[in-house]
């Protein structure tokens, strides 16, 4: 058995988390609240130590007065707690949404155009034929202008439906294996780091 307190705590909390398989219970709740609290606390602490404090204590007093403007805009978000001043909290949200939209419009189209251009294959290989047929079928499945009675749309949709199901199946299979790996990680921790049954 391990003699490290941290490993004991982690192992016991892992087993508490597994009790959720039996149903919602107080042991699971302890883990849930601890996890959320620790995650938020760690993120807030790291953000203050690595980012906010160096900006306030180092950069602003050394002449970077322009940083005061975003700081003030950011602080406006706390006005949402006042009944008459809540409207002020909309300004930082507006800045964030506007910035996000601009950023996405600036960078995202090039990536998507690359994907569209990459969907046109030379039909010189069987694989490329499969991709092209399933791509067109998938598009026709979501094509509603001509209605599903049109024979081309109907046939294409049928092919597209199977293509979509195959893709979802591949994703589901991959998800399942990924979840197994997550469980494997905790099981290995219990057997190796806590119980010392394997090396």
């Amino acid at each position: 058995l391990s003699t490290t307190i941290g490993i004991w705590v982690a192992a016991i909390l892992t087993i508490f988390a597994w009790t959720y398989l039996y149903g919602d219970n107080p042991l699971w709740r302890i883990v849930e609240y601890l996890y959320v609290g620790l995650a938020v606390g760690y993120m807030v602490g790291t953000s203050i130590l690595d980012y906010v404090w160096p900006t306030v204590a180092r950069d602003i007093p050394h002449g970077h007065w322009e940083y005061v403007i975003p700081a003030v805009i950011g602080l406006l978000v706390y006005f949402r707690y006042g009944k008459t001043s809540a409207w002020l909290a909309r300004y930082p949200i507006a800045v964030l949404v506007g910035y996000g939209a601009g950023y996405q419009l600036g960078f995202q189209p090039r990536t998507l155009l690359g994907q569209i251009a990459g969907s046109f294959y030379q039909l010189n290989k069987f694989d490329n034929w499969v991709i092209t047929v399933l791509l067109l079928g998938g598009l026709l499945y979501f094509f509603f202008t001509l209605g599903k009675n049109n024979p081309v749309v109907k046939g294409g949709s049928w092919v597209g439906r199977y293509g979509i199901v195959l893709a979802l199946g591949a994703s589901f299979g991959s998800t399942l294996l990924y979840r197994y790996t997550l469980f494997y990680g905790r099981a290995l921790f219990i057997l190796r780091d806590w119980l010392h049954l394997v090396h």
Binding site: L21, F107, L177, T181, Y184, G185, L191, V198
Partner: protein
């Protein structure tokens, strides 16, 4: 037929017991299954293998602590390979917990490489945390120290570090390779903000679940190469002749896949039997 219909309604509890048994058994009784190397992992390996000594690689950790079982062995294999090649390593993070993960893993991995064990700041650096990581990675293309508020993971000034002085911006001129260790859409953020503007398509270490979504970007060249999930990491370890954590996960993955196939067959047999019973 009556007995067969029960197969369609196996209680969840029994399935959990089976999963526990399979996973614990696979760890306690390892089976050395052959791992065939796929072309995509070979391509990723060759990319790292082609890096000249003294060049720089930038690793972006885009995963939470939940994905460590799958991505830590991959990270370990990649940094081991980079250090074997004599490549300098700069690490930034998209998630606050991965920063801690990177630091902890590097402490272990550098122990086998004296140059790196003594060379923090000149051979490798873990950057500090920026609460807007997607914005920071774009800003890093102009100036890494500014993007990460001039602090590394330990709070030291980045501008004092020889590696950051030598490669101050995340550009193709300064960095021979960008690597994204990813469990969500970090690869997409990299393509948008660094890959296409700076002509630095990443090598993506992806979790298994993400592989079908990431693969189209490999086909278009927007991603340079991919290591697909824990299986890809195991293949990488085979190529590196450095067996590690990833090879071990493949026991579990193979037995788990077998269990799923058995449960699928049993469930479907039960479903067919139930339908026949209703029809009769």
């Amino acid at each position: 037929v009556n007995g067969m219909t029960k197969l369609a309604h196996i209680r969840n509890g029994w399935i959990y017991v089976l999963i526990f048994a399979v996973v614990f058994f696979s760890i306690l009784v390892p089976i050395a299954l052959p791992i065939p190397v796929q072309p995509q992992t070979r391509k990723a390996f060759d990319k790292v293998n082609a890096l000249p000594a003294g060049s720089n690689a930038f690793i972006w950790m885009s995963y939470g602590s939940g994905a460590t079982a799958e991505l830590n062995p991959m990270f370990d294999a990649l940094v081991t390979h980079l250090m074997e090649r004599g490549v300098n390593i700069v690490i930034a993070s998209r998630t606050v917990d991965a920063l801690q993960v990177a630091w902890k893993e590097m402490q272990t991995e550098v122990a086998a490489f004296p140059d790196y064990a003594k060379g923090y700041g000149s051979k490798w650096v873990v950057l500090g945390w920026n609460p807007s990581p997607d914005v920071a990675i774009r800003q890093a293309t102009s100036n890494i120290a500014t993007a990460y508020n001039n602090v590394d993971f330990t709070g030291k000034a980045l501008t004092d570090m020889p590696l950051i002085k030598q490669a101050p911006a995340l550009t193709a001129q300064s960095y021979a390779l960008g690597i994204v260790m990813d469990d969500t859409d970090g690869y997409l953020q990299w393509i948008n903000r660094v890959g296409q503007p700076e002509n630095l398509p990443p090598l993506v270490g992806a979790i298994q679940m993400e592989v079908p979504v990431v693969s189209p970007y490999v086909n278009t060249g927007q991603i340079g190469a991919i290591i697909p999930g824990a299986n890809g990491a195991a293949q990488y370890e085979v190529l590196l002749h450095h067996p590690g954590g990833a090879l071990r996960t493949q026991n579990t993955a193979s037995l788990a896949a077998l269990l799923v196939v058995v449960l699928l067959i049993l469930g479907n047999l039960g479903f067919v039997a139930e339908r026949r019973q209703k029809a009769a």
